[in-house]
């Protein structure tokens, strides 16, 4: 167990934006919530799963909805507490701790708010090791853990509890309720025991986000090559350096999809990288050949600062480095690839682990 202070939270939020692979929502709002809660209620205890009992029950907490709404209609604070407590009440057992369901982006830090307010531990793991756009896309699903009972709460005091037959159905209902609640809802879901999480969750991801954030922050001071230090911190591969030549966006099924075209510089001069995204970066191809695909992680970094750039922030002229990281091993199973592989997102290609192409 160790304590998370304000500085740790800022680092986690910064690193989570790298793991967000272009999506996951701007962690800024979540970082402010968590930071303020720590100022008001004290530091949060971060536990590894090994430090808890196998029977302990863990309920993740998160924000669901449109990132654009989250920066405008911010939560009340009681809403996410209501969601968390409702799941506990329904199950009828004490909940030992909360955790992040999505270590990439905003939801890396939102559970820290809950942990601080309720003075319960945060567990150092998550359900993705990155960010994904849909609710069933978590490693819990692969392990056969249901999303429900799931609670969704709004700032008015409404809470919707649901039981479903599959996580796909949960995603479907949850999306409708989110819209009614104002395109944003605070949620608690995927209750699981520590024993289950030891194989179902992606371990150590909060610490990983923190390490990445700390690396970016210290690279600002030491003037090291920040892209390379981030690459080392994530254990990934540099696949491209270039300038954004064009960004094409479209809305499909309520998702922001598009492609960015990046013209190579330095060692990559003469080549072009195409990045296809749906909220998150999905496929990176160089001169027409796929190099990295979902579920492996693809992050766009500012070449000078190493800071991550979201898909909404991609602009013509930016100088960027593209780095790729291997995804959590759970995603590389047949069930995992069916959930989040290239074909699920409409790309007719096989998933090839990044190490095989870039290693």
């Amino acid at each position: 167990m160790r304590l998370l202070n304000e500085r740790n939270i800022e680092d986690i939020a910064l690193g989570a934006a790298v793991l967000g692979t272009g999506g996951g929502g701007d962690p800024y709002i979540g970082m402010l919530m968590a930071r303020q809660a720590i100022r008001d209620y004290g530091a949060v205890e971060l536990y590894t799963l090994d430090e808890l009992d196998d029977d302990d029950l863990i309920v993740p907490t998160a924000m669901m909805g449109a990132p654009t709404v989250m920066v405008e209609k911010m939560p009340n604070g009681d809403d996410i507490i209501n969601a968390f407590k409702s799941v506990g009440k329904y199950i009828g057992k004490p909940i030992r701790a909360t955790m992040s369901i999505e270590a990439g982006g905003l939801n890396s830090v939102v559970p820290i708010y809950v942990a601080a307010r309720l003075r319960i531990p945060l567990v150092d793991c998550d359900g993705m090791g990155r960010a994904f756009p849909e609710l069933q896309m978590v490693t819990h699903t692969i392990a056969g853990i249901g999303a429900t009972p799931m609670a969704m709460s709004d700032e008015r005091g409404n809470t919707v509890l649901m039981e479903t037959i599959s996580n796909h159905w949960t995603e479907r209902f949850a999306r409708s309720v989110t819209v009614d609640m104002g395109a944003m809802a605070m949620i608690a879901l995927y209750a699981a025991t520590v024993g289950q999480l030891k194989t179902a969750a992606v371990l150590g991801t909060i610490s990983q986000a923190e390490r990445i954030g700390q690396t970016i922050r210290s690279a600002r001071v030491t003037e090291e090559d920040p892209v390379n230090t981030v690459r080392e911190a994530v254990g990934g591969y540099l696949i491209f350096k270039g300038k954004i030549a064009d960004v094409q966006r479209r809305t499909e099924g309520g998702f922001a999809r598009g492609d960015a075209f990046i013209t190579g510089i330095d060692d990559y001069a003469g080549q072009q990288l195409q990045m296809s995204f749906q909220n998150e970066n999905l496929i990176a191809s160089i001169d027409g050949a796929p190099v990295v695909t979902v579920p492996d992680l693809i992050a766009t970094l500012d070449i000078d600062t190493g800071e991550p750039i979201t898909t909404e922030g991609l602009r013509y002229g930016f100088r960027v480095a593209i780095i790729a990281m291997p995804c959590a091993p759970q995603w590389r199973t047949p069930v995992g690839i069916a959930l989040v592989g290239p074909r699920y997102f409409g790309y007719d290609m096989d998933y090839v682990p990044v190490e095989e192409r870039c290693g």
Partner: protein, 513 residues
């Protein structure tokens, strides 16, 4: 004829322009009360050109006065914030991300009230007039008159902010109220922050604009005057005293717009070399490329669109180390005319290097005649390296681009620049800021969310465009000259009915009287 004035932290520059030609220009020190410096500049300008002041059609003033006040935490007044959105937003109250010293400087206090809207226009909770009355009484009792009002999704529906302002005025008739919807875009905290900064600057703005007015009156100039704003367009003086925050980025914008005008180039890299820093920016179609990331002013995150400039510690006053290998970032600043070797001082500066290298004739050239040639050459190498790196970082493609060099320190730039197709040093480069102010246009902007379930994308775009054009005309633009200069569309994820956020900017020439 037009007069353009740039009131900087160090110098007040003024230019007289007739159509596209510069008739006269002058540079004088900025004075603490601002208006004395303007009067001096105008006197010099009029003397230099034998100007009949009745021939002046307009005076355009650009100033960094308000930015400096926030950065230095000076001249800020106590401010109260009312936010409508309960029961939402409670966990992040107003000023939650302000630096402590700024919050203390404005004695910031806040009130949360019911109201606010959802993204689709529904009310979060009903507007409660009695609640606002109660808050207004508390603010009155505290003796505060500067008030910022924000409401959730006010860019979509402004009515709650406006109703609150009317109620507050019943209780506090002399209240200076800033509505967030009049300043910012989607993003409650950033928009609210901008409104708070604006509110706390209102007294200073009123005094400063009154000072501008009295300076012009003293010179018997009856022409209307305008203040230039962040995007390179103009606002009326009265509007500026209501919205000082809109001047925050006008300095670099004016400099880049002036560079575009002087060089005749619309797509280029602009290098503005001042006394202490060099700003590098990119012109696209005659306007500065804007930064994509949130911009911090005085430690506060806002969502203004500021020019994307890279600032490096190199200027005419930069200190040069004894071996010439280090140049800047320390600088003698405005004391250059006392401290540099060529001005009889004892400090080796970048200007001394430029003179020793024969790039320019400034001050007493004999004072640097004895400088070691290896030192001069090493310092030139370092300056070249700093400039090349900065240009390379800002360039948008490998293709060579023209470079426009402006600012008093641009005498440092005599060596070729890597990646530059040419280096243009236009006439009057030292007063590009004032020229940028003089040629500024009038703009209008719209930024809101459209539901493409209710209208086609083309209809939504057309609506947004006509709103922006109407706003530009309302602000004083000649409708015949207004054109759309920027359209940005961001489809919103996870929303039904293909909601999309559309931002449009329209710009036109100032309508002549």
């Amino acid at each position: 004829m037009r007069i353009g004035i740039d009131v900087g932290g160090t110098n007040t520059d003024a230019v007289l322009m007739d159509g596209m030609s510069v008739l006269a220009f002058t540079k004088t020190p900025t004075t603490p009360n601002v208006s004395d410096g303007i009067v001096t500049a105008l006197k010099q300008l009029i003397a230099a050109s034998n100007l009949d002041v009745s021939k002046i059609d307009g005076v355009m003033i650009g100033t960094t006065h308000f930015t400096n006040a926030v950065v230095e935490r000076k001249h800020l007044q106590p401010t109260a914030v009312i936010r409508l959105g309960l029961p939402a937003t409670v966990c992040l109250p107003p000023m939650v991300d302000f630096p402590d010293d700024l919050r203390a400087a404005i004695n910031g206090r806040y009130f949360l009230a019911h109201g606010g809207h959802e993204f689709d226009g529904r009310e979060i909770s009903p507007f409660a007039p009695d609640e606002i009355r109660r808050i207004a009484s508390e603010i009155k009792a505290a003796g505060i008159t500067a008030i910022a009002i924000s409401s959730v999704f006010s860019p979509v529906n402004t009515s709650f902010e406006a109703q609150s302002a009317a109620i507050v005025r019943e209780t506090i008739p002399d209240a200076n109220i800033t509505l967030s919807s009049t300043i910012g875009r989607i993003g409650l905290l950033e928009r609210e922050n901008a409104a708070i900064l604006n509110a706390c600057l209102r007294d200073l703005a009123l005094r400063t604009v009154a000072g501008f007015k009295s300076a012009l009156a003293e010179m018997q100039i009856a022409a209307p005057f305008y203040i230039s704003q962040n995007d390179g367009t103009l606002m009326s003086a009265d509007f500026a005293s209501d919205y000082p925050v809109l001047t925050f980025a006008s300095g670099p914008t004016n400099s880049m717009r002036g560079a575009a005008f002087l060089s005749g180039l619309k797509d280029a890299i602009v290098i503005d070399v001042g006394g202490t820093t060099t700003d590098v920016g990119i012109l696209q179609r005659g306007f500065p490329r804007v930064a994509a990331l949130a911009v911090q002013i005085g430690g506060v995150r806002t969502n203004f669109r500021m020019p994307d400039t890279l600032s490096i510690g190199l200027g005419g006053g930069s200190l040069v180390s004894a071996d010439g290998h280090r140049v800047g970032p320390q600088s003698v600043g405005y004391e250059i005319t006392r401290k540099a070797l060529v001005f009889g001082g004892d400090t080796l500066t970048a200007t001394d290097i430029a003179v020793a290298a024969g790039y320019a004739e400034v001050g007493d050239t004999s004072k640097v005649a004895g400088l070691d040639a290896a030192l001069v050459s090493a310092a030139q190498d370092r300056i070249e390296e700093l400039i090349n790196n900065a240009v390379d970082r800002m360039k948008t493609s490998a293709a060579p681009m023209p470079v426009i060099a402006v600012g008093g320190g641009s005498i440092l730039l005599k060596r070729p620049i890597v990646g530059a197709s040419e280096v243009v040093m236009p006439p009057h480069f030292a007063v590009a800021n004032a020229i940028g102010a003089a040629i500024a246009q009038i703009g209008g902007e719209t930024d809101r969310i459209f539901s493409l379930a209710e209208m086609s994308r083309d209809q939504a775009l057309a609506t947004a465009k006509s709103e922006a054009i109407d706003k530009a005309v309302a602000a004083g633009a000649d409708r015949d000259t207004v054109e759309i200069v920027e359209v940005e569309e961001v489809p919103l994820a996870y929303l039904p009915g293909n909601a999309t956020r559309i931002m449009v900017k329209a710009v036109g020439d100032l309508k002549e009287a």
